[in-house]
């Protein structure tokens, strides 16, 4: 059974194949009728145990653009609040006959468990602070569109790496595709043993920006404990916030990315978020195409 759970250890050829497929689907999305019958008759069940708007809608849009049907689940008011175990919830929804699960869960590993219990193709839409593989792919696609390739590209990720599944998937995708990744954060927002990762690490943003092709800002996630890890938002902004002045020190071709939702005025100044270097809306658009590619990869031709 094939699943799409993590970008760790994915070979370069597979990532490139998915990006090529996503490029094709971008063409579909530009058509007057942006829909193909590739997954007609398939049903995709969205199990979003953690609240999500953008990722759930993006997957929904992707499935429907491939003519699949979707079923959706949200945790509030569901059997989960009545104490049902994850396994029981999985098997109950499985009995309704979906062909694939798209899973988001606040706990690491939940999509793996669902994949094992259900035995149907399972896509990870974000587990804990572990992986968010379609985000990694869409970010890679966005950079490939802009720069042609990621080989040798200097990418700087700034902020809460420790609690970020986006960072873990991005680092896997970017390094596999040949980019040079630098992490910038205070030690408290870096994972333990980060010195063993295939990245450079710094606590100082300013000297790095002039040598950065793409700066990627991570959300300060107070809901994941990020708020305990530095003294105050204002101190964080002073040291790591991408102000207009800092953005001006990027090379002329330098771009700015963010996975959203943005904390405007914290990790990114509004004028930068809305400015010409920002690829934020391109990322969102690419997300639909990437998710189409992954769904098609798992369910097409089955």
């Amino acid at each position: 059974m094939r699943h799409f759970l993590t970008l760790e250890d994915e070979p370069r050829e597979r990532l490139e194949g998915l990006l090529d497929q996503a490029d094709e689907f971008l063409g579909v999305l530009d058509r007057p009728i942006p829909k193909v019958p590739a997954l007609r008759g398939k049903t995709v069940a969205m199990l979003f145990f953690e609240p999500s708007t953008r990722t759930r809608m993006s997957f929904d849009r992707a499935a429907k653009a491939l003519s699949a049907d979707t079923m959706s689940f949200s945790p509030s008011g569901s059997s989960l609040s009545k104490g049902e175990s994850l396994k029981d919830t999985t098997l109950t929804i499985l009995a309704m006959g979906p062909h694939a699960f798209v899973v988001r869960h606040r706990s690491t590993g939940a999509p793996w468990q669902i994949a094992e219990w259900s035995g149907i193709p399972t896509l990870n839409a974000g587990d804990g602070a572990h992986q968010h593989p379609t985000q990694g792919l869409l970010d890679a696609l966005t950079l490939r569109q802009r720069f042609g390739a990621l080989d040798g590209l200097r990418i700087t990720l700034v902020g809460d790496i420790r609690h970020s599944r986006v960072a873990r998937s991005d680092i896997a995708a970017f390094t596999t595709l040949g980019a040079q990744v630098t992490l910038v954060a205070p030690r408290t927002l870096l994972p333990p043993t980060v010195e063993d990762w295939p990245v450079a690490v710094s606590g100082d943003l300013d000297p790095i920006l002039p040598d950065t092709d793409a700066v990627y800002l991570l959300r300060i996630q107070e809901e994941r404990g990020g708020g305990e890890d530095f003294p105050s938002i204002s101190e964080y902004v002073a040291r790591f916030g991408l102000t207009a002045a800092r953005a001006d020190t990027l090379p002329d071709h330098g771009v700015v990315m963010h996975p959203g939702p943005m904390n405007r005025g914290v990790e990114i100044e509004p004028s930068v978020a809305d400015g010409p270097r920002s690829l934020v809306t391109t990322q969102v658009r690419n997300g639909v195409a990437v998710r189409m590619a992954v769904l098609f990869d798992l369910l097409g031709g089955t």
């Binding site: 606040r106 590993g109 468990q113 804990g128």
Partner: protein
């Protein structure tokens, strides 16, 4: 009087194994020698016959969580694992912080009669870490070991008072060492695997900082102190230094910490979740070496049953702990491979001396107590359900282990006979 004969085994004494039969009459060993006969004979060919195992760290879950285990199923699981005495941990509901809860456990254990069930008392009321438990009340019904196991006594002032109060009578304070601030929110060992998985970790220093602090209190108070489930190389070093300095310190290790490291968590199965967590391969090596050289005194299972539905949830939401009674001896034999004298020392003689269990931990001699186990070190088996325990949360599921309990004899009576030897 009916005579029970354990036939053809290697009787283990301090001098090593001797091929001999063991005849048991009543609750004592009647004869040790060749060609003994009796009304009931159990084939122990090639098995080590030694003192029944003793486990000073068992969660029997009664009272309060009987859907996981109770004193009956826990006693039976202990017998199946070769144990003749176990110590029930006080994290029951209500906590064993006063005599009447301890009395319930003791009386139930006696009524079931498969092993001697001893009781550890809580250090603090409700294991809340604020106020001393009813230590005298517990003492008077025989409790000698005090711990808030599952939680750490973080308040050094409270711990000092407990050490002074218990220490003057020769009682022992046992600590589940985990600094709550350093460990806060953690689900697994903090290291390369937690970093990869994005899970909050319990760093080794959370254990070591508490042990280091506590050892200064031992020096101050002179109280006997026991480190529960040592999991890090640094803790091993601290225990070794304390022993070298002559402090009254003992330590235990859980079987899973002798065998598995934190990479097991990558399998995304909550049977890899326990506190202290599975650590690095270097830590596994260090605790195994420390058990072999005696720095760590003995094995204790931290048998922690949880029902299947409680474990069928994501790792971070799962309760902590694994069962161990039925696999402990085989794990020790499979992964550390001690000679039989050291093996029985770590499984029976040392923990029995630690807890002061009468009639346990005695090398088999004529006239001695018939609390015995015949353990075949070379017989292999696959760990699979059903278990005698009410729960099945074990990381050993599907694994092959070497070493099989052939028969357990408690007060002269077989309490477990391996299915292949049963009539």
């Amino acid at each position: 009087m009916e005579t029970l004969v354990l036939k053809g085994g290697l009787v283990i004494g301090p001098g090593g194994p001797v091929a001999a039969d063991v005849a048991i009459e009543g609750d004592v060993i009647a004869a040790v020698g060749p060609d003994l006969t009796g009304e009931r004979v159990i084939d122990c060919d090639g098995a080590w016959v030694g003192p029944g195992f003793v486990d000073v760290h068992v969660h029997l879950r009664e009272p309060g969580q009987e859907w996981k285990e109770d004193i009956g199923t826990g006693s039976a699981a202990a017998a199946a694992g070769g144990f003749t005495a176990i110590v029930a941990m006080p994290n029951t509901e209500p906590a064993t912080d006063s005599g009447h809860v301890a009395r319930h456990v003791l009386e139930r254990g006696k009524a079931i009669g498969l092993v001697d069930v001893l009781v550890a008392g809580a250090i603090s009321m409700g294991r809340g870490g604020k106020k001393l438990a009813h230590l005298d009340d517990l003492w008077h019904i025989g409790v000698r070991m005090f711990t808030d196991d599952g939680d750490t006594v973080a308040d050094a002032g409270l711990l000092r008072r407990a050490m002074e109060y218990v220490g003057e009578r020769g009682g022992v304070i046992a600590q589940h060492a985990e600094d709550p601030g350093l460990a806060r929110g953690g689900h697994m060992h903090e290291g390369s695997v937690s970093a990869r998985l994005g899970m909050a970790g319990l760093p080794s220093v959370a254990e070591e900082a508490i042990v280091a602090r506590d050892l200064r209190l031992v020096r101050l108070t002179g109280c006997r102190y026991h480190v529960q489930h040592v999991s890090t190389r640094g803790t091993v070093d601290l225990v070794r230094q304390a022993k070298d300095a002559g402090l009254p310190v003992t330590a235990e290790v859980a079987p899973h910490h002798l065998a598995f490291d934190h990479s097991l968590v990558l399998e995304m199965d909550s049977v890899a979740k326990m506190y202290p967590p599975l650590r690095t391969p270097e830590d596994v090596e260090a605790v195994a070496a420390a058990l072999a050289d005696g720095t760590i005194d003995f094995v204790a299972t931290d048998h922690a049953p949880h029902s299947a539905n409680e474990k069928e949830v994501p790792f971070e939401e799962a309760p902590r702990g694994v069962i161990g009674l039925e696999t402990s001896a085989a794990v020790l034999n499979s992964v550390v491979g001690l000679d039989p004298v050291a093996f029985f020392h770590r499984m029976s003689v040392a923990p029995s001396a630690f807890i002061g269990a009468r009639d346990h931990g005695a090398w088999p001699v004529v006239g001695g107590p018939a609390n015995l186990v015949a353990f075949h070190p070379d017989r292999r088996w696959t760990v699979r359900p059903p278990f005698t325990s009410r729960s099945a949360n074990t990381p050993w599921l599907g694994h092959d282990l070497a070493g099989r309990v052939v028969v357990t004899v408690y007060r002269g009576r077989p309490t477990h006979v391996a299915p292949e030897e049963a009539p």
